[in-house]
Protein backbone atom coordinates (compact mmCIF):
# COMPACT_ATOMS: atom_id res chain seq x y z
CA UNK A 1 0.00 0.00 0.00
CA UNK A 2 1.20 3.48 -0.88
CA UNK A 3 1.74 5.97 1.89
CA UNK A 4 0.76 9.53 1.13
CA UNK A 5 2.19 12.60 2.84
CA UNK A 6 0.78 16.14 2.67
CA UNK A 7 2.71 18.17 0.14
CA UNK A 8 3.95 15.10 -1.72
CA UNK A 9 4.17 15.48 -5.49
CA UNK A 10 3.08 12.39 -7.38
CA UNK A 11 4.80 11.28 -10.58
CA UNK A 12 3.11 12.62 -13.72
CA UNK A 13 1.62 10.45 -16.45
CA UNK A 14 1.45 11.25 -20.14
CA UNK A 15 -1.69 10.40 -22.13
CA UNK A 16 -2.09 10.57 -25.89
CA UNK A 17 -5.18 12.20 -27.38
CA UNK A 18 -5.88 11.87 -31.10
CA UNK A 19 -8.89 11.70 -33.41
CA UNK A 20 -9.13 7.89 -33.19
CA UNK A 21 -9.27 8.03 -29.40
CA UNK A 22 -11.98 10.71 -29.50
CA UNK A 23 -14.11 8.45 -31.70
CA UNK A 24 -13.46 5.55 -29.34
CA UNK A 25 -14.49 7.70 -26.36
CA UNK A 26 -17.58 8.99 -28.21
CA UNK A 27 -18.70 5.41 -28.84
CA UNK A 28 -17.95 4.25 -25.30
CA UNK A 29 -19.60 7.24 -23.59
CA UNK A 30 -22.50 7.89 -25.97
CA UNK A 31 -21.45 11.54 -26.41
CA UNK A 32 -21.56 11.85 -30.21
CA UNK A 33 -21.46 15.66 -30.37
CA UNK A 34 -19.87 16.33 -33.81
CA UNK A 35 -17.56 19.05 -32.41
CA UNK A 36 -15.46 16.13 -31.10
CA UNK A 37 -15.23 14.31 -34.45
CA UNK A 38 -16.02 16.50 -37.44
CA UNK A 39 -13.57 19.27 -38.28
CA UNK A 40 -15.87 21.03 -40.72
CA UNK A 41 -18.67 21.11 -38.15
CA UNK A 42 -16.35 22.23 -35.34
CA UNK A 43 -15.11 25.15 -37.44
CA UNK A 44 -18.67 26.05 -38.50
CA UNK A 45 -19.53 26.72 -34.82
CA UNK A 46 -16.50 28.92 -34.31
CA UNK A 47 -13.99 26.44 -32.89
CA UNK A 48 -10.37 26.39 -34.03
CA UNK A 49 -10.63 22.67 -34.84
CA UNK A 50 -12.04 19.46 -33.39
CA UNK A 51 -11.83 19.56 -29.57
CA UNK A 52 -11.66 16.68 -27.11
CA UNK A 53 -14.71 15.97 -24.94
CA UNK A 54 -14.10 17.67 -21.60
CA UNK A 55 -15.23 14.39 -20.06
CA UNK A 56 -12.55 12.52 -22.04
CA UNK A 57 -9.82 14.74 -20.59
CA UNK A 58 -11.40 14.40 -17.15
CA UNK A 59 -11.73 10.65 -17.66
CA UNK A 60 -8.01 10.35 -18.41
CA UNK A 61 -7.25 12.35 -15.27
CA UNK A 62 -9.61 9.96 -13.48
CA UNK A 63 -7.61 7.00 -14.77
CA UNK A 64 -4.51 8.60 -13.28
CA UNK A 65 -6.29 9.00 -9.93
CA UNK A 66 -7.52 5.38 -9.99
CA UNK A 67 -3.96 4.26 -10.62
CA UNK A 68 -2.65 6.34 -7.71
CA UNK A 69 -5.43 5.05 -5.44
CA UNK A 70 -4.81 1.46 -6.50
CA UNK A 71 -8.34 0.95 -7.89
CA UNK A 72 -11.28 2.92 -9.29
CA UNK A 73 -13.20 1.57 -6.29
CA UNK A 74 -11.16 3.88 -4.06
CA UNK A 75 -12.08 7.14 -5.78
CA UNK A 76 -14.69 8.91 -3.65
CA UNK A 77 -14.82 12.39 -5.14
CA UNK A 78 -13.55 13.95 -8.31
CA UNK A 79 -14.27 17.39 -9.72
CA UNK A 80 -12.88 19.67 -12.42
CA UNK A 81 -13.60 22.77 -14.44
CA UNK A 82 -13.11 22.75 -18.18
CA UNK A 83 -10.99 25.86 -18.48
CA UNK A 84 -9.42 25.45 -21.94
CA UNK A 85 -10.42 23.17 -24.80
CA UNK A 86 -7.98 20.48 -25.92
CA UNK A 87 -7.66 21.10 -29.66
CA UNK A 88 -7.04 17.91 -31.67
CA UNK A 89 -5.94 18.51 -35.29
CA UNK A 90 -6.10 15.60 -37.77
CA UNK A 91 -3.09 13.30 -37.80
CA UNK A 92 -1.62 14.74 -34.58
CA UNK A 93 -1.03 13.01 -31.24
CA UNK A 94 -1.71 15.61 -28.56
CA UNK A 95 -0.01 14.98 -25.23
CA UNK A 96 -1.92 15.42 -22.00
CA UNK A 97 0.29 15.47 -18.92
CA UNK A 98 -1.49 14.75 -15.65
CA UNK A 99 0.12 15.16 -12.24
CA UNK A 100 -1.06 15.52 -8.65
CA UNK A 101 -0.08 16.87 -5.27
CA UNK A 102 -1.30 15.44 -1.97
CA UNK A 103 -3.12 18.29 -0.20
CA UNK A 104 -3.76 16.49 3.08
CA UNK A 105 -4.21 13.07 4.57
CA UNK A 106 -6.84 12.00 7.11
CA UNK A 107 -7.23 8.67 8.87
CA UNK A 108 -8.79 6.95 5.87
CA UNK A 109 -8.66 9.43 2.97
CA UNK A 110 -6.24 11.58 1.02
CA UNK A 111 -7.14 14.78 -0.82
CA UNK A 112 -5.39 15.42 -4.10
CA UNK A 113 -5.02 18.43 -6.33
CA UNK A 114 -4.72 17.47 -9.98
CA UNK A 115 -3.00 19.36 -12.78
CA UNK A 116 -3.70 18.51 -16.44
CA UNK A 117 -1.60 20.28 -19.07
CA UNK A 118 -1.61 20.34 -22.87
CA UNK A 119 1.16 22.29 -24.61
CA UNK A 120 1.93 24.00 -21.30
CA UNK A 121 -1.65 25.20 -20.89
CA UNK A 122 -3.82 24.08 -17.96
CA UNK A 123 -6.88 22.41 -19.47
CA UNK A 124 -8.61 21.52 -16.20
CA UNK A 125 -9.16 24.03 -13.42
CA UNK A 126 -9.79 23.39 -9.73
CA UNK A 127 -9.30 19.68 -10.33
CA UNK A 128 -9.56 17.80 -7.05
CA UNK A 129 -10.05 14.27 -5.87
CA UNK A 130 -10.62 12.41 -2.63
CA UNK A 131 -9.38 8.83 -2.46
CA UNK A 132 -9.76 6.12 0.18
CA UNK A 133 -6.58 4.84 1.73
Amino acid sequence: MTTFIAGQELAPKVFTINRARLIQYANASGDQNPIHQNEEFAKSVGLENVIAHGMFTMGLAGQYISQIAGSSAKVREFSARFTKPVVVPAGIDVQLIVSATVVDVDSDIARLEIVAMCSEVKVLGMAKAVISL
Binding site: A28, M55, F56, F78, S79, F82
Partner: protein, 127 residues
Protein backbone atom coordinates in the same frame (compact mmCIF):
# COMPACT_ATOMS: atom_id res chain seq x y z
CA UNK B 1 -34.52 30.78 -21.26
CA UNK B 2 -35.20 28.13 -18.66
CA UNK B 3 -38.47 28.49 -16.78
CA UNK B 4 -37.40 29.56 -13.25
CA UNK B 5 -40.11 27.29 -11.81
CA UNK B 6 -38.01 24.30 -12.87
CA UNK B 7 -35.13 25.23 -10.55
CA UNK B 8 -35.13 22.96 -7.53
CA UNK B 9 -37.36 20.40 -9.17
CA UNK B 10 -36.37 16.75 -9.32
CA UNK B 11 -37.27 14.64 -12.32
CA UNK B 12 -37.38 11.02 -11.22
CA UNK B 13 -36.04 8.62 -13.82
CA UNK B 14 -38.74 6.42 -15.33
CA UNK B 15 -36.44 3.69 -16.66
CA UNK B 16 -33.61 1.62 -15.26
CA UNK B 17 -30.28 1.09 -16.98
CA UNK B 18 -28.57 -2.21 -16.36
CA UNK B 19 -24.81 -1.73 -16.32
CA UNK B 20 -23.29 -4.33 -18.63
CA UNK B 21 -19.74 -5.67 -18.35
CA UNK B 22 -19.26 -4.59 -21.99
CA UNK B 23 -20.20 -0.97 -21.26
CA UNK B 24 -17.66 -0.81 -18.43
CA UNK B 25 -15.00 -2.55 -20.52
CA UNK B 26 -15.39 -0.25 -23.52
CA UNK B 27 -15.44 2.89 -21.35
CA UNK B 28 -12.37 1.71 -19.43
CA UNK B 29 -10.58 0.80 -22.67
CA UNK B 30 -11.27 4.25 -24.14
CA UNK B 31 -9.48 5.73 -21.11
CA UNK B 32 -6.61 3.23 -21.17
CA UNK B 33 -7.82 1.65 -17.92
CA UNK B 34 -7.23 -2.09 -17.56
CA UNK B 35 -9.37 -2.59 -14.44
CA UNK B 36 -12.91 -3.57 -15.47
CA UNK B 37 -14.33 -5.22 -12.32
CA UNK B 38 -15.39 -1.75 -11.20
CA UNK B 39 -16.38 1.21 -13.38
CA UNK B 40 -13.97 4.15 -13.82
CA UNK B 41 -14.87 7.14 -11.57
CA UNK B 42 -16.39 9.15 -14.44
CA UNK B 43 -18.48 6.24 -15.82
CA UNK B 44 -21.68 7.68 -14.32
CA UNK B 45 -21.70 10.31 -17.07
CA UNK B 46 -22.69 7.61 -19.59
CA UNK B 47 -25.99 7.32 -17.70
CA UNK B 48 -26.49 10.89 -16.47
CA UNK B 49 -25.66 12.83 -19.64
CA UNK B 50 -28.50 11.50 -21.77
CA UNK B 51 -31.11 12.11 -19.06
CA UNK B 52 -29.84 15.61 -18.31
CA UNK B 53 -29.81 16.38 -22.04
CA UNK B 54 -33.38 15.15 -22.50
CA UNK B 55 -34.58 17.13 -19.50
CA UNK B 56 -32.94 20.40 -20.57
CA UNK B 57 -33.96 20.04 -24.21
CA UNK B 58 -37.54 19.34 -23.15
CA UNK B 59 -37.25 22.50 -21.03
CA UNK B 60 -36.44 24.50 -24.16
CA UNK B 61 -32.65 24.82 -24.05
CA UNK B 62 -30.68 24.51 -27.31
CA UNK B 63 -28.22 21.62 -26.91
CA UNK B 64 -26.29 22.66 -30.04
CA UNK B 65 -25.10 25.74 -28.12
CA UNK B 66 -23.93 23.93 -25.00
CA UNK B 67 -20.43 24.06 -23.52
CA UNK B 68 -19.47 21.92 -20.54
CA UNK B 69 -18.40 24.19 -17.68
CA UNK B 70 -17.54 21.79 -14.90
CA UNK B 71 -18.30 18.36 -13.50
CA UNK B 72 -18.21 16.84 -10.04
CA UNK B 73 -18.65 13.27 -8.88
CA UNK B 74 -19.36 11.93 -5.41
CA UNK B 75 -19.14 8.16 -5.38
CA UNK B 76 -20.76 6.44 -2.41
CA UNK B 77 -20.82 2.96 -3.96
CA UNK B 78 -18.59 2.22 -6.96
CA UNK B 79 -20.59 1.08 -9.99
CA UNK B 80 -20.17 -2.51 -11.12
CA UNK B 81 -21.68 -4.68 -13.83
CA UNK B 82 -25.17 -6.02 -13.18
CA UNK B 83 -26.37 -3.01 -11.19
CA UNK B 84 -29.73 -1.59 -12.22
CA UNK B 85 -29.55 2.16 -12.08
CA UNK B 86 -32.27 4.78 -11.99
CA UNK B 87 -31.17 8.35 -12.71
CA UNK B 88 -32.97 11.24 -11.00
CA UNK B 89 -32.11 14.72 -12.24
CA UNK B 90 -32.49 17.92 -10.23
CA UNK B 91 -32.01 21.37 -11.74
CA UNK B 92 -30.06 23.00 -8.92
CA UNK B 93 -29.53 26.43 -10.39
CA UNK B 94 -29.97 28.52 -13.51
CA UNK B 95 -28.63 32.01 -14.07
CA UNK B 96 -27.87 34.29 -16.98
CA UNK B 97 -24.41 35.87 -17.25
CA UNK B 98 -23.65 38.13 -20.22
CA UNK B 99 -26.48 36.53 -22.16
CA UNK B 100 -25.20 33.00 -21.54
CA UNK B 101 -27.43 30.72 -19.54
CA UNK B 102 -25.57 28.71 -16.90
CA UNK B 103 -27.43 25.67 -15.59
CA UNK B 104 -26.30 23.21 -12.92
CA UNK B 105 -27.96 19.81 -12.94
CA UNK B 106 -27.41 17.14 -10.31
CA UNK B 107 -27.92 13.55 -11.38
CA UNK B 108 -28.36 10.93 -8.66
CA UNK B 109 -27.71 7.36 -9.72
CA UNK B 110 -29.91 5.20 -7.53
CA UNK B 111 -29.53 1.45 -7.00
CA UNK B 112 -32.78 0.11 -5.52
CA UNK B 113 -33.32 2.83 -2.90
CA UNK B 114 -29.71 3.82 -2.27
CA UNK B 115 -27.78 6.65 -3.88
CA UNK B 116 -24.61 5.21 -5.42
CA UNK B 117 -23.29 8.27 -7.26
CA UNK B 118 -24.20 11.95 -7.38
CA UNK B 119 -22.80 13.96 -10.22
CA UNK B 120 -23.15 17.70 -10.89
CA UNK B 121 -22.87 19.12 -14.42
CA UNK B 122 -22.58 22.82 -15.03
CA UNK B 123 -23.59 23.55 -18.59
CA UNK B 124 -23.24 26.87 -20.37
CA UNK B 125 -25.74 27.60 -23.14
CA UNK B 126 -24.09 30.25 -25.26
CA UNK B 127 -26.14 33.24 -26.33
Amino acid sequence: MLNPDLVGRTFVGTTKTTISPESIASFADALGESETTVAPPTFGITISLEQSQTLLQDSGLDWSRVVHGDQRFEIFTPLIAGMQVRCDCTIESARVVAGNEIVTVRADLIIETKKAVSTWSTLVFRA
